[in-house]
Amino acid sequence: MGVSRLSIRGLGRAVVVSALLCLVLIGLPAVLADDRYPPVVPGKALVFPYDTGAHPDYRTEWWYITGWLRDAEGVERGFQVTFFRVRTLLGEDNPSRFAPSQLIFAHAAVADPARGRLLHGERVARALDPLAGAAVGRTRAWLDDWSLELDEAGHYLTEVHAEDFAFSLRFDPPTDPVLNGDEGWSQKAPDPANASYYYSRPQLAVSGTLELGGKAHTVSGHAWLDHEWSSEILPEGASGWDWIGVNLHDGGSLMAFQMRDHEHESMYNAGTLVTPGRSLQVLRPNEVRFEPRRGWVSPRSGIRYPVAWSVEAGGRRFEIEPLMDDQELDSRASTGAIYWEGAIRLLEDGFEVGQGYLEMTGYGERLRM
């Protein structure tokens, strides 16, 4: 699912941008429901590649890539890059080129065990051709010199230039998109109004370069792309969620999430399990179960994150172990959000069966609507 950074928005007095970014990311709560946004309803057939492009009528949309990279020396690192689009309903009648009706937000991070913590960078801008935007019809989102696009040959290409790192990667999808939920209609909460259109591209083969600490590494690996758009995703009463997207070594994939309430109890669970040779399993709420196994307390924020989990999905029982414990992303100073998002290994019966990403939000302060 990959909408992270929402979490803490307790920054009333903070600089507007930060408030804004939070807003952007949170996928706007139900309180702000507005009938100018199209509702997300089941039964709408997703059409490819058209639906890989942007859907500017909807409130929130993101393209979210996570994955594992291995360099020539065999060092493994996690990475993440996300482009968000938000329709603000502001200035839609304003003839100004700068009208802030669509905002673009980009975020990227690298998890390097040698450093013991995440490196991250972010950008935000109003959509303003040719500087920033999200194109309709085929994936193309860009913000200055950051970009993500799906080329004619079907490869995804991304360029990211952050302060502490940069990467230029190509992703080759081996399969058709995996439609999550009901043919791409993904319910997020007991109320079906809280839903998104959601497909994943698991098992992306990665190649390219990663620049880190002034050194360029030729890297390869595997990645996962989520593309999701919605008008009202987060239910009232939710404090955050836990999400995983894992490429299984057998060529399959597992996506699972749980929406939590303020007591950290599950409000709604769902997932998708792809096993080679079998038909895709859409996991219903009773088929997914997250159980925390081990906590880790951030020395910076004091927040306790369950970094290791047991996950039951589609009748299989997995264990989650992080690439490293400290993958907390603290951008309270800029975006006001603090959450955990990092590379994980998926174990089954003590053996690694997959690698992917775990995202945990809402463990700090209570999520404010």
Partner: protein, 832 residues
């Protein structure tokens, strides 16, 4: 030895308290005025500079254009350059606020872009506001100073004017990064473009370059790529532009302070001279006792230095007080209007204070130098003899030196300014002053001649005194000459200036009524439809629309004002010189004197103006006078401008009425037609009155300085006569023996005082006239680039001169009274 020096000399100062205090006060005055001007201007500039730095933030370069703005696609091109790390677009608006006197500078920013280049301009929302408000088009964020100035708080609404429309903005937060004195507002760029009808236009782009990019290279390359009229500059250039604009004003005030300091030096000279005369025997005795010549010299100079030091310290204290007072009263530009939007506060300036302290001491030492060197030059034996101060006061005429000074002064009028400052003009002023003082000994004989023809005893006595001891007049009158010259020259200059401004206003305000939506730079304007409504109003015969913009001429000079108006082939303009252009199809442009000077242009020259992003060639048809725009202006025919730019808006509209139409009635109708709150309708007489009021306010400081300088000159006469009277006690005793009544001696002194003042006044007035010529023809011309017609206010000068003579006579009479108290016998015997 130091102690001995201290005892002998410094305590001497205490012996003539009044004279010492006056010299000290004169130096105090000079230091106070000079330093106050420095502090006020410095603080205003600093505050302004801080504002500019705030607006430059971490920007490496700024791209700026005409005031009306430039095509926003320039920003898109800049933002995509490889050497640009971040580009922040800004549309800056001088918003007119209907119903309020002051305007408000609103920065329309893209808050996502401004964060990396100009984080200080980031708006901060109120705690209870929604998240997206900074992007809403009607939200405005005010700096603390702006909140205070407008008396607005969160949740209040602020009416702003765009054209003739009034829009309402909501005050939604603050600009925490704005410095304390910065009155500014921030809103979303898209909202600003929409609300103020500036869609498609930016006024500035701030650039941050990537690490490793050379600013100079990028600047040079952008200079070639940017459209005409759009320039790239270093952020510091904005500060330099303003400081350049106000520098001439600043320098002129500083020069006036220097003249006050000079007057102070003259006064020190007077008192020291007389004190040396009086202490002739004492000093000779010291020498005879073995005190070395250089020690005596040093001691006398020390006296001057102590006066200068005390005066300087007092001046520094007063200057800071005066500056604080001036800030609270008239603002940082002393009413001259250079620093809008900043509210500076006075603070201690150690460097400038020290500088002025040194100047004060220097004035004291310089004043003491001549008397001291004369005193030590006399052989002690001669000094020990019963001294006759007449010996020392027997100044020779110095016509040769006078003439040389005048010739040099004349020569100094030829060279141009240095760095925009008319340094040689000031040298000429100093030379004229020197010539005036040097002409005193010789001039006395001429000017006092009528006294010699009189048969009255007192008149003949006075005549013989001043002709026999012209040094007395020099000593007493030097301060008068300096202060009168200063006062008269300023009176002539300001008078000429005022008359010329008045004439000019009459010429540029020929219509019956003027309609404007806001000052030329601000957000109000009249569109064609509004102008048509004015034309259709009952009683209106015709209209003269005027449009203003500012142009950047591409050579890093200050922006030039563009005035587009019906010119009637130059007939409608205050032309100084003009010539029928010799053929050619080029459109005509009239330039102001400042433009002609600064850009070295003459009639018939070609001139390319960047209009609407294109270079357009014009030919200079004439030079006009313009007292409003010191950095230059160009005037083109309105039709030409509209054809070239497509801009059909109007800033100022002159309205001519049908014969017999009632002005007030028509003005009332226009207010109704256009909206009371969004237009100002003025009569030419009102505009003229306001302009002259501003003019007078600007010169208020100079009037004040004149008054104080003259007062001090008078005190100089008074102290000199008091001192002289003491040293002439035996002469008076003799006169009493010969039968003169005490009252008559008083009259004699009054007469001498009057004659001295008259001589000083006449010489000072002549010198003042000459200095006025230098001020008008050289200094103003070079500092402000405008000419004026010389006007001599004879009446006021004559009245001033007579008052001065009467006052001087009274001062001499009063101050001498004490000296005449003793018995005549005792006085005569004293030196026997």
């Amino acid at each position: 030895m130091t102690q001995a020096l201290w005892k002998v000399f410094i305590t001497g100062l205490l012996g003539r308290r009044l004279a010492s205090v006056l010299s000290l006060l004169a130096i105090t005055l000079g230091v106070t005025l000079g330093l106050a001007v420095q502090i006020i201007h410095g603080a205003a500039l600093e505050e302004f500079g801080r504002g500019m730095r705030l607006l430059a933030g971490e920007a490496d370069l700024q791209v700026v254009g005409p005031r009306a703005g430039f095509d926003e696609r320039v920003y898109l091109a800049l933002a995509q350059r490889a050497d640009v790390a971040a580009a922040s677009p800004v549309v800056e608006i001088e918003a007119r606020l209907p119903g309020r006197e002051a305007g408000l500078r609103i920065h329309g920013v893209d808050l996502f872009r401004v964060a990396r280049v100009l984080p200080l301009l980031m708006p901060a929302a109120e705690a209870d506001e929604g998240r997206l408000i900074a992007l809403e088009p009607d939200r405005v964020f005010l700096s603390a100073a702006a909140r205070e100035a407008l008396a607005l708080g969160p949740g209040d609404t602020l009416g702003v004017q765009s054209g003739l429309r009034e829009a309402t903005l909501r005050v939604s937060g603050s600009v925490p990064g704005a410095a304390a004195g910065q009155v500014l507002a921030v809103m979303d760029i898209a909202g600003a473009q929409q609300v103020f009808d500036r869609v498609g236009v930016l006024t500035r782009v701030d650039l941050k370059l990537v690490a490793g990019a050379r600013r100079e290279d990028t600047m040079a390359e952008l200079g070639r790529l940017l459209p005409p009229g759009v320039e790239v500059r270093l952020p510091a250039a904005g500060v330099a532009e303003t400081s350049g604009l106000s520098r001439a004003y600043h320098v002129n005030l500083t020069m006036l302070a220097a003249i006050a300091l000079l007057t102070g030096a003259f006064l020190v000279f007077s008192t020291q001279y007389l004190s040396v005369v009086r202490r002739g025997r004492e000093l000779a005795f010291l020498r005879a006792m073995g005190m070395e010549r250089h020690l005596v010299m040093r001691g006398l100079l020390l006296e001057g230095a102590v006066l200068g030091l005390l005066g300087g310290v007092l001046g520094i204290v007063l200057a800071h007080g005066l500056a604080a007072w001036a800030f609270s009263l008239v603002g940082g530009d002393l009413g001259a209007g250079y620093f809008a939007h900043v509210t500076p506060s006075a603070r201690f300036m150690p460097g400038a204070s020290l500088g002025y302290l040194v100047l004060g001491v220097a004035a004291g030492v310089a004043g003491a130098w001549l008397p001291a060197s004369q005193a030590v030059a006399r052989p002690p034996a001669q000094g020990l003899r019963a001294a006759d101060e007449r010996e020392l006061l027997a100044a020779r005429p110095r016509w040769g030196a006078t003439l040389s000074c005048l010739v040099l002064a004349l020569l100094a009028c030829w060279p141009g300014p240095i760095g925009g400052i008319p340094l040689f003009g000031y040298v000429a002023v100093a030379l004229v002053l020197a010539a005036a003082v040097l002409s005193l000994p010789g001039g006395v004989k001429w000017l006092a001649a009528p006294l010699g023809l009189s048969s009255a005893v007192l008149a003949r006595l006075a005549w013989s005194r001043v002709t026999a001891a012209p040094g007395q007049v020099v000593v007493a009158g030097a301060g008068v000459v300096a202060s009168v010259a200063l006062a008269v020259s300023m009176a002539i200059m300001v008078g000429s200036f005022r008359d010329s401004v008045d004439d000019w206003l009459a010429k540029v305000l020929p219509s019956d009524l003027y309609v404007r939506a806001s000052s030329s730079a601000a957000s109000g304007f009249l569109d064609e439809e509004a102008v048509a409504r004015v034309v259709a109003t009952e009683g209106v015969a015709g209209v003269v629309p005027v449009r203003y913009d500012s142009l950047r001429m591409g050579d890093a000079s200050l922006p030039v004002t563009l005035i587009a108006r019906p010119t009637a082939g130059g007939e409608a303009l205050p032309v100084v010189s003009q010539r029928k252009p010799s053929g050619g199809d080029l459109p005509l442009v009239w330039i102001t004197e400042a433009m002609a000077d600064l850009h070295r242009l003459g009639i018939g020259d070609p001139l390319a103006l960047p209009i609407a992003g294109r270079e357009v060639r014009f030919v200079v048809a004439g030079v006009t006078r313009d007292y409003a725009r010191q950095h230059g202006a160009v005037i083109i025919e309105l039709e030409d401008y509209r054809r070239l730019s497509g801009d059909r808006l109007t800033n100022d509209l002159g309205v001519t009425l049908l014969p017999g139409a009632d002005v007030d009635l028509v003005a009332g109708r226009l207010r109704e037609v256009l909206g009371e709150r969004v237009v100002e309708i003025s009569l030419p007489s009102q505009i003229r009155a306001i302009s002259l009021e501003i003019f007078d306010r600007t010169f208020l400081v100079t009037y004040l300085m004149q008054a104080v300088a003259v007062l001090i000159g008078l005190f100089g006469i008074s102290t000199t006569f008091a001192a002289l009277a003491t040293s002439r006690r035996k002469e008076f005793g003799m006169l009493r023996h010969l039968g003169l009544k005490r009252r008559e001696i008083g009259r004699l002194l009054a007469l001498e005082g009057g004659v001295t003042a008259a001589v000083g006044g006449v010489v000072g007035t002549v010198a003042g006239g000459a200095i006025a010529l230098v001020l008008v023809e050289v200094i103003n011309r070079q500092s402000f680039h405008w000419s004026m017609d010389l006007a001599l206010p004879f009446g006021p000068i004559l009245a001033f001169g007579l008052t001065l003579v009467v006052l001087a006579a009274a001062a001499a009479r009063l101050s001498a009274a004490q000296a005449m108290r003793g018995s005549a016998v005792a006085a005569v015997r004293e030196d026997w």
